[in-house]
């Protein structure tokens, strides 16, 4: 159920600006309600993560080695099957 919230003019302006930036980022319309929700979730407005593709310099074998190290590390926390 929708509720009414009263905000000051300066807050309204900031919300409208945030909504506009989110619209550009998401490529679709974003209501003020949605903008508030996104802001509360801590949405960042600093670009797409796909733009960072290829920025890690790591071979396949190195990646697999690190992944194996992590998996082994977590396994040390594992509960015994009989517990």
């Amino acid at each position: 159920m929708a509720k009414s919230v009263r905000v000051e003019e300066r807050t309204y302006r900031k919300l409208s600006q945030a909504s506009g930036r989110l619209q550009v980022m998401l490529g679709r319309l974003v209501s003020l309600d949605e903008a508030i929700w996104y802001l509360l979730k801590g949405v960042k407005e600093e670009g797409r993560i796909s733009d960072l593709s290829g920025t890690w310099d790591m071979s396949e074998s190195e990646a697999r080695d690190i992944e194996r190290g992590l998996r082994e590390g977590w396994k040390r926390w594992k509960l015994p099957q009989s517990a």
Partner: protein, 139 residues
């Protein structure tokens, strides 16, 4: 609120690492989510794993810089009291059923479910055992 929740996805470590390493299928998968206007997030557990990976790598400085840049663009979901409680509940429940999953998987699953977000992962086998977790298969 359901529509909003559906437009957010939590990404597992392998998806984020493969994107950073430029794995074509994963980058395409991420692009499809971005083009659909999806809010992308990850958990504090995945963040730890990525920073570990960057720190352990041969090109530590370069990979750390890239990892830090990644987290300026993602919503980071914390392990809260609520998600800790949920992780404990999930692990105990699956243990009772003789269907144990790793601690990391329980923590990630709990953080995603308490935020009402589906989890995109390449490890669907383990995560699909978690009740109420919406799992999206990633390349």
């Amino acid at each position: 609120m359901e529509t909003l929740e559906a437009s957010s996805v939590c990404l597992d470590t392998s998806v984020l690492a493969d994107n950073l390493r430029g794995k074509k299928e994963t980058v395409e998968f991420i692009k499809r989510l971005e083009e659909a206007g999806t809010i992308l997030s990850t958990t504090a557990v995945n963040s730890f794993e990525l920073y570990y990976g960057a720190n352990r790598s041969k090109r530590r400085e370069k990979n750390l810089t890239a990892t830090k840049a990644l987290f300026t663009r993602l919503v980071l979901l914390d392990l809260t009291d609520e998600s800790s409680n949920e992780a404990g509940r999930i692990l105990a429940l699956l243990e009772e059923e003789g269907n144990l999953i790793d601690f990391r998987d329980a923590l990630i699953a709990a953080i995603a479910t308490t935020h009402g977000m589906p989890l995109a992962t390449s490890d669907t086998e383990n995560f699909s055992r978690v009740p109420h977790l919406h799992v999206i298969e990633a390349p």
